[in-house]
């Protein structure tokens, strides 16, 4: 893969520069902190999974038996035999078997019809709204603002990848980033020369200071604390060993979640993790492509939850899965769908009260050919802030009143 999922959409249109620059961490930074100040057991951990491109909600949580669904989507509609039963005449995409078994254990909350008023169908604008939780120009992300309510700690919120996701951008302090793949730190005299080059200088402008710091971070870590990282990720012992489908091996998302699993298991003092997967902009030939991607999401998350069960943190972890919008109800001529409005949000975890939340948008009452928005994403964020991150929602979302009672 040439593209880095994380880079997608970031600052692409200049819709608003990010706030404070991100610290880039290394595995060693996190490993060291995991040893010297591990996260106390029982501290809730949030893992945010961003699906870039606009996931087609109607083919994720599928009203297969609805005749309007069938008639509006020739070529991309599923049959009842393709999908996995949930309830209320709704079915899960057939590739999401791992997610389905978590649903059967009541560990999956599906919030239906999620969006916000006056849906914006631009990828960049709508993603900015979801990541900032602000309708309008925003310079900070909702979890970046949460970071700023906490005592300063660069390990508190970490995005996987080399570029800061906007949701972790704060005004003065942001979350950190952890690049995939290990860093090969220069050694010998090159190392000492580069260290000299990376010392802060009072004449540096902001960007030069960041450039110097990014190089300095290569060297400021203790290099001998690596046993945790060299150890394999926790085993997913209760999953069948044969993993079918999805030819092509690990997806980038699986790799990201593997690293998160490893570091959570090691005791990293991190409360928020951000991972992502791109490719959901299925304007053409949607069915196969989306199903592969949803399979990756489902298998990645169920493996992650299984890995957590092999540690003593499975009760602490909550996973949130969202995308910037759903897609148009009616298929287009390319066997794909165009940008739409609302879609389902998944919240997964042992402390989650499984089941449906919010109303399923009716296919009989489309608004301008699109699904109605029946739930506001800020309700979900507010409940997560309060019940998972233990922070008054007001501090991050202003006086937002709505809540979704997702947790036991």
């Amino acid at each position: 893969m040439d593209t880095i999922t994380r880079r997608q959409f970031l600052k692409a249109t200049g819709a608003g520069a990010l706030g404070a620059a991100a610290t880039s961490l290394t595995f060693e930074d996190i490993a060291e902190a995991a040893i010297t100040r591990p996260l106390p057991l029982g501290t809730p951990i949030l893992v945010v999974v961003t699906l870039y491109g606009g996931n087609d909600g109607l083919n994720t949580v599928v009203p297969v038996t609805d005749s309007i669904y069938q008639s509006l989507r020739p070529g991309i509609a599923y049959k009842e035999s393709d999908v996995l039963p949930l309830k209320d005449n709704l079915y899960l995409n057939g590739s999401m078997t791992g997610m389905h078994s978590l649903w059967n254990k009541n560990q999956v909350a599906i919030v239906r019809g999620v969006g916000y008023p006056n849906s914006d169908r631009s990828h960049f604008s709508s993603m900015a709204i979801w990541q900032s939780a602000i309708l309008g120009a925003a310079k900070t992300g909702w979890l970046g603002r949460w970071v700023e309510t906490q005592a300063e700690d660069p390990l508190l919120a970490i995005g996987l990848g080399s570029v800061l996701p906007p949701l972790l951008a704060g005004e003065k302090r942001s979350g950190s980033v952890l690049p995939l793949g290990g860093l090969k730190v220069p050694t010998g005299s090159l190392a000492s020369d580069c260290m000299k080059l990376s010392i802060a200088n009072r004449n540096d402008n902001l960007l030069q200071a960041t450039a110097a710091r990014s190089m300095r971070n290569l060297f400021t870590v203790s290099s001998d604390i690596t046993p945790i990282l060299k150890a394999p990720a926790p085993a997913a012992s209760d999953l069948p060993t044969a993993v079918g489908g999805n030819a092509g091996g690990d997806s980038n998302l699986t790799q990201q979640l593997d690293i998160v699993a490893k570091l959570v298991a090691a005791g990293a003092p991190t409360r928020v993790w951000s991972v992502s997967l791109g490719g959901f902009d299925t304007h053409a030939d949607e069915k196969g492509a989306q199903s592969i991607l949803l399979g990756v999401v489902s298998e990645g998350i169920s493996k992650f939850m299984s890995q957590m069960r092999a540690t003593n943190r499975s009760k602490d972890v909550v996973v949130l899965v969202y995308s910037e919008f759903g897609r148009r109800v009616k298929g287009n001529a390319s066997d794909g769908t165009d940008h739409g409005t609302s879609g389902p949000v998944f919240v997964i975890g042992e402390k989650v009260k499984g089941g449906f939340y919010g109303e399923q948008p009716s296919l009989r009452e489309l608004k301008n050919d699109d699904l109605a928005v029946t739930s506001d994403f800020r309700d979900i964020y507010a409940s997560i802030l309060e019940k998972v991150l233990g922070t008054q929602a007001e501090k991050v979302l202003g006086n937002w009143k709505g809540r979704t009672p997702l947790f036991n």
Binding site: D2, T3, I4, R7, Q8, L10, K11, A12, T13, G14, A17, A21, A22, S24, T26, D120, R121, S122, H123, F124, S125, S162, V163, V177, P179, G181, L183, K184, V185, P186, S189, L190, D193, C194, K196, L197, I199, N201, D204, N205, L206, L207, Q208, T210, A211, A212, S214, M215, N217, L218, D281, H283, A284, G331, N332, A333, S334, G336, D338, H339
Partner: protein
């Protein structure tokens, strides 16, 4: 010696609009002053001693891919990869070796603007034809460029225009045409997206050649209503209408500002878009390159990885296609996150802080180690050791070293290779201050 502010402004001109100086060029620019430098760097003469004589890459329409597991498929895939490599190095050579780099610099800008990726358009020929179109209009008239692009096979295929039909319009191209290419986000309504998608129906693309045919029978021939107008439209008349709107000069000025002046400090000068009133790109480029912001300390920029590599190659006398192992160049650009013909998405590449992670710092150092091995270091190696640190300023086009960097460099001044490596990884070189 020119004062620091003058040197900085000239260094900005050279690095932002000219891919950085070749040996000897920066000193000559500084001696001629900012205005003469701007004239030289912001004008592309009709002829170019290198570009005019460079043979075209050897590309051909390979036709449809043979069936999986067939005998022919391996040769087909091998040739396809070879075509992409040849095209990539053809362009890198052109960026490095052109006598007047502005045209290639602007072609590179427009590639990030009409960002089309070979991840989906995985045939070299249509990508090359688009590249030639961008080059042809790089400093021409934006109205003509936009019209050529709505008829461009690679762009249409990239945004699903070839399957956009009367019965079920596909909005991908119409939305991005307004949002990312011509007007800017929210300068249209959702209804405008749906209506203009109809104007773009009836275009069919031959994927492997990039040939586009317009099929009048599959084109929506009824009137559409959008952005305060109505009537029957096709791609050409739609493009003309959008480009004629006042939001177009504003948006294109914003995009050039973002890439050449600052992604952090938004455009505040309302007069600047007026220099684009006749949609003359060369005129706007000149206005931006001579804007007072070019002399203002606030408008620093990070060199994107491709610009960094090209400026290093120009200073070091490296011809990309002649590098001992071209895969090294391709792989390192990929690690740094910027390979031509592979933008991450239709919005193009990120900017500034996004390129300054610890991972990038490490990849940059290891790429520099590799490049230094094939560098012509004579601009400093031929000098006495004590003169080298100072001489690197003019060689590389850096306004001044900080005390920190000067100290680090002086420690290595006996070793020209180490010295050059440290210089191109220094904050003063990575950032166009």
């Amino acid at each position: 010696m020119a004062d620091l502010a003058e040197r900085r402004a000239i260094a900005r001109l050279s690095h932002r609009f000219g891919f950085g100086p070749k040996p000897g060029e920066f000193k000559a620019l500084v001696n001629s002053g900012f205005n003469n430098s701007a004239n030289k760097l912001l004008t592309a003469p009709a002829t170019d001693s290198f570009a005019d004589s460079q043979p075209l890459p050897n590309l051909r329409d390979q036709g449809p891919r043979p069936k999986p597991n067939s005998a022919e498929v391996v040769a087909y895939a091998t040739e396809k990869r070879a075509q992409f490599t040849e095209m990539l190095f053809w362009w890198l050579d052109r960026m490095v070796l052109s006598e007047h780099p502005l045209r290639e610099r602007m072609t590179w800008f427009w590639h990030g603007h009409w960002a089309t990726s070979s991840q989906k358009v995985d045939d070299a020929l249509p990508m090359f034809r688009q590249n030639q179109t961008l080059r042809k209009y790089a400093l021409g008239n934006f109205s003509e460029m936009s019209k050529a692009m709505v008829n461009d096979g690679a762009l249409i295929y990239w945004l699903d225009g070839q399957t956009n039909t009367v019965k079920a319009p596909n909005e991908n191209l119409s939305r991005e045409l307004m949002e990312l290419f011509v007007l800017g986000v929210n300068r249209y309504t959702e209804n405008d997206v749906r209506e203009t998608a109809k104007a773009l129906t009836g275009y069919r693309v031959n994927k492997t050649s990039g040939d586009v045919t317009f099929l009048p029978k599959q084109h929506y021939s009824m009137p559409i209503n959008f952005l305060g107008t109505g009537g029957v439209f096709d791609g050409n008349s739609l493009s003309d209408y959008l480009v004629a709107r006042d939001d177009c000069p504003l948006f294109i000025t914003e995009r050039l500002w973002y890439r050449f002046i600052s992604s952090n400090e938004p455009l505040a000068d309302t007069a600047l878009p007026k220099t684009f009133s006749n949609r003359d790109i060369a005129n706007l480029v000149k206005a931006i390159g001579t804007h007072p912001a070019m002399r203002d300390e606030r408008y620093a920029m990070v060199k994107p990885p491709l610009d960094w590599f090209v400026s290093v190659a120009r200073a070091f006398g490296i011809t990309p296609s002649k590098f001992s192992n071209t895969t090294t160049i391709r792989n390192n650009l990929n690690l740094l996150g910027q390979v031509p013909f592979l933008p991450p998405n239709v919005g193009g590449w990120p900017a500034d802080q996004a390129w300054l992670s610890t991972a990038s710092a490490q990849f940059r150092i290891s790429f520099a180690e590799r490049l230094i091995k094939e560098a012509d270091l004579s601009p400093i190696a031929d000098l006495p050791a004590r003169s080298r640190v100072e001489a690197m300023l003019d060689w590389l086009g850096v306004p001044a070293w900080s005390s920190r960097t000067a100290l680090a460099l002086r420690g290595a001044q006996k070793d020209p290779a180490r010295l050059a490596l440290l210089a191109i990884c220094s904050p003063e070189y990575v950032v166009s201050a």
